[in-house]
């Protein structure tokens, strides 16, 4: 439903977004990743109609952003970076204001407001000025206004920034429950969030799209994908592990006794490794297969650009 063609944005000489082309379909929960200044927020600002692209076009639900921005804005719920709101208003005043602007009326309006208040758990702070609320509550007020009109497209710029682990969990659940036939785009710095809620990952670096596939595919790019990590109770001769078929490298941290066996092309080596441990009576107390390490893949993808 979202078609982005050759989208670029320049600020003076600085190229913030460089020739992005992608489509997002209903049901996609997209995790937007990238280092600071990579162009994530700028792209989101263009998708929501706040910024006009320098070149290229955006089509949402068969409408062109250049011509029908107002109609498109009705379809979108947006949480801007930092969750700005009107500090002098209370959350309940703020939600009523947004509801009126969004054209919600009467019983439906009251129902929607009550629903989102429950969804993001704002009940205790409804009558306190937003500027006096904690960071977590401010973020939730921002989320509440974004989902208030039950939009088909939800764009959230760092929705869990500043939330404690419980609140993060709550927000992730909220997003998972929303997204059946909707489009959700989330930008985040928290890599685990992507595997937790998204079914598609887009990595942007220096304004360019560097990766666009499922979180599983992202994990598979890791050299630790399917690597076997084990922990030794006390030092022991483990050189034999490196000779097992499929194992191409071994990382051994002597201080912690942690050993990681890297495999070739994600080969399944767990069985051989356990056999070997049994034969040699190695003092292994923990053993598990790694999914891949996102931070390392993230670094490879985003820093590779500059090199």
């Amino acid at each position: 439903m979202i078609y982005v063609n050759n989208l670029s944005k320049l600020f003076g000489d600085f190229v913030a977004v460089n020739d992005l082309t992608f489509n997002i379909l209903p049901g996609d929960v997209v995790g937007f990743l990238g280092p600071n200044g990579a162009g994530k927020s700028t792209t989101m600002k263009m998708l929501t109609g706040f910024l006009a692209p320098s070149t290229g076009g955006i089509q949402i639900a068969d409408l062109s952003m250049a011509e029908d921005a107002k109609k498109i804005k009705k379809l979108i719920g947006y949480l801007p970076e930092g969750a700005p709101a009107y500090g002098d208003m209370t959350p309940i005043q703020f939600l009523h204001f947004i509801a009126k602007i969004r054209g919600l009326k009467g019983k439906h309006k009251a129902e929607r407001i009550n629903t989102v208040i429950k969804q993001v758990d704002l009940l205790g702070v409804l009558d306190k000025p937003i500027e006096n609320l904690s960071k977590g509550f401010k973020r939730r007020v921002g989320l509440a206004q974004a989902i208030l009109h039950d939009p088909d497209i939800l764009i959230l710029d760092e929705p869990t920034d500043g939330l404690d682990p419980n609140q993060k969990h709550q927000v992730r659940e909220l997003i998972q429950n929303l997204a059946k036939e909707k489009i959700v785009i989330i930008s985040t710095h928290i890599l685990e969030e992507v595997t937790a809620v998204c079914n598609r990952v887009m990595i942007i670096s220096a304004g360019q799209l560097r990766f666009d596939a499922s979180p599983e595919a992202l994990l598979a790019k890791s050299k630790y994908h399917k690597a076997v990590t084990l922990h030794l109770s006390y030092p022991s001769d483990i050189s034999g592990l490196l000779e097992l078929p499929g194992v191409i490298d071994m990382e051994h941290e002597r201080s912690t006794g942690r050993v990681t066996l890297l495999t070739q092309n994600g080969a399944d080596v767990l069985h051989d490794v356990t056999e070997h441990i049994k034969d040699r009576r190695l003092p292994v107390d923990t053993i598990f297969v790694e999914q891949g390490r996102l931070d390392q893949v993230f670094r490879d993808i985003t820093q590779g650009v500059k090199a």
Binding site: F50, K70, K73, K74, Y78, P80, I101
Partner: protein
């Protein structure tokens, strides 16, 4: 129109949720009384009219209206709430009008609250009510022009102090361009058409007759057109600079 009204109500509520409106109205009332009684010598003149009151309005507005206007856009941009506002299904014009009318309403309310002065001259003599109503309307229009200039300056910068100073300077130019100090500087060498043009841009020139109760079309038109032009300029500036 419904959208503009919703925005208007939010802006107006925000004036009264913060001390801004209360402080503004109080200061406006105190200063306008001080000017009227001590500098304008309302009693000593021995005339039952409000000319001493209205004559000081351009100078009063010069500092007070930019103080109301400075926050309109600067604050939105500083806090980032402009991003929220501009991604709602509203047009920039609707947002602009909502803000303008809310601030203008606060100015109108301040003017209305000077009614004890009117009662005073009623007690002292028989003033011409038509003149006073016309002067009130004219003063409100002029306040709107100051406001439109202030909002335009507020749209230019994130910094409220800068917005305030810019607005005072620009307003000052428009006020003094009709005063003798400025016109004398041109008198010796410039052709009269230049002097007339400069004078015709001045708030003082246009407000002079309004303060006496003459609501002439060209004076009213001048303020209305000025408001429109400055608001249009704000619109262009916001569209251009909203994301900076």
């Amino acid at each position: 129109m419904g959208t503009v009204f919703t925005l208007f109500k939010r802006e107006l509520a925000s004036f009264f949720a913060t001390p801004v409106a209360y402080v503004f109205i109080t200061i406006f009332l105190i200063l306008s009384s001080v000017f009227t009684f001590f500098i304008g010598s309302l009693y000593e003149r021995g005339q039952a009219d409000l000319l001493p009151f209205f004559n000081f309005h351009p100078w009063l507005y010069l500092f007070l209206v930019p103080a109301i206007a400075m926050r309109t856009w600067s604050e939105e941009r500083k806090s980032g709430s402009i991003e929220l506002l501009m991604t709602l299904p509203i047009s920039t014009l609707q947002a602009l009008l909502g803000k303008f009318f809310a601030s203008w309403a606060v100015l109108g309310l301040s003017l209305l609250l000077t009614f004890p002065l009117w009662l005073t001259v009623n007690y002292l003599g028989q003033p011409d009510h038509g003149v006073i109503v016309a002067a009130y309307v004219g003063s409100w229009l002029m306040a709107g022009t100051f406001l439109a200039i202030g909002m335009c300056m507020s749209a230019m910068t994130k910094n409220q102090v800068v917005a305030f100073i810019l607005a005072v300077v620009v307003c000052f130019l428009f006020v003094v361009s009709g005063s003798n100090i400025v016109l004398d500087a041109f008198k010796d060498w410039a052709p009269s058409i230049v002097i007339d043009t400069i004078a015709s841009f001045s708030f003082l020139t246009h407000f002079e007759s309004i303060a006496k109760g003459v609501l002439a079309l060209n004076d009213v038109g001048y303020f209305l057109i000025s408001i429109t032009l400055w608001l249009y300029a704000s619109l262009l500036i916001i569209e251009h600079k909203k994301a900076d």
